[in-house]
Subunit: 159 residues, 2 copies
DNA sequence: AGTTGACTTCAAGTTGACTTCAAGTTGACT
DNA sequence: AGTCAACTTGAAGTCAACTTGAAGTCAACT
């Protein structure tokens, strides 16, 4: 990092918290841009860190990489994105999060009414409805965040 | 379905809303039990439908099949599970759902404060924190339900 | 100049939850 | 007895998002 302020893939990885392999993968997908040294090594601009921050945020919220790509492509190509650009971009996530929250709340409320009866009827129980039927279409079936999936109390009482 | 009230894989699939391949897969995993005809075809008891309802509910809530298996294995092996058994089993899900909801709410609140500043700083912005750091460990990174993932407004404003 | 850690590419492997396929049976009905 | 939809198995394919491995190259430092 002597000559300019360009960063190697290792530095980018360390600073962003992504694995090097992920950074290379993202570059391959076109999510990140890199120049190359004469020897063929990647050099990233500092602004790449902001892109990666955006990517992580988006992934935290649940966007696929395809969606992340689309979002990044909607940034102004010819000037450095401003704060406002980034803010604009993340504004649409709010509704998305609210949708997820609503879905889970609906699921929990359905569960509450199920606990009372223990039915789990395919016909009547809202929590065990096949995904394609009636009321879960708005709320949407809720697949658990991976973090929470592995760690717990599968169906058994906590105590 | 003449002779007894045993159901074929096709009937089970139709009535449960699962694909036949999924039903066979679940049987292979031991989530479902089936007797066989002399010719080797599967025959399921009617109670299998309730198990499948449970499986769907659990999957809706986000349990992995491993977790579903563990939950089902905790059912009394020697008698037909009662309503109370099923209710007991699903009771533990409530906390899980609440955890998910809390995680998303925290994420949304973080996003709200981010939108104001547009920073997305790796250091300071809670929404773009690497998954392994500080505050997201409780809440957990939230990966979006698949349903919601594909269908939307990726990072762009709704209007 | 030599060392050595960091880098390169490309292919293949991983995970979970299934689905698809091919080729061959079975069983309910006529 | 014949028909044919529905069934069987096992292997392989799918998807996303990476990771891993092998075999080789680069660059910073001494």
């Amino acid at each position: 990092m002597r000559s300019t302020d360009l960063l190697t893939v290792g530095e980018i990885a360390r600073r962003s918290g992504f694995a090097e392999s992920a950074v290379r993968y993202y570059e391959g997908l076109g999510l990140l841009a890199a120049t190359r040294t004469s020897g063929g090594q990647r050099r990233f601009e500092r602004s790449t860190l902001r892109r990666l921050a955006f990517i992580r945020a988006a992934r935290n919220i649940g966007l696929s990489l395809d969606e992340v790509a689309a979002a990044l492509n909607s940034l102004p190509a010819k000037r450095t994105p401003t704060r406002a650009d980034w803010a604009q971009l993340s504004l649409g996530w709010r509704q998305r999060l609210n949708d997820q929250i609503d879905a889970l709340v609906a699921l929990r409320d359905g569960l509450d009414s199920c606990i009372g009866c223990g039915c789990l009827s395919l016909d009547r129980c809202s929590i065990s409805n096949p995904a394609d039927t009636a009321r879960l279409d708005g709320p949407g079936a809720a697949y658990l965040p991976k973090k929470l999936q592995s760690s717990s109390n599968a169906g058994t009482l906590p105590a």
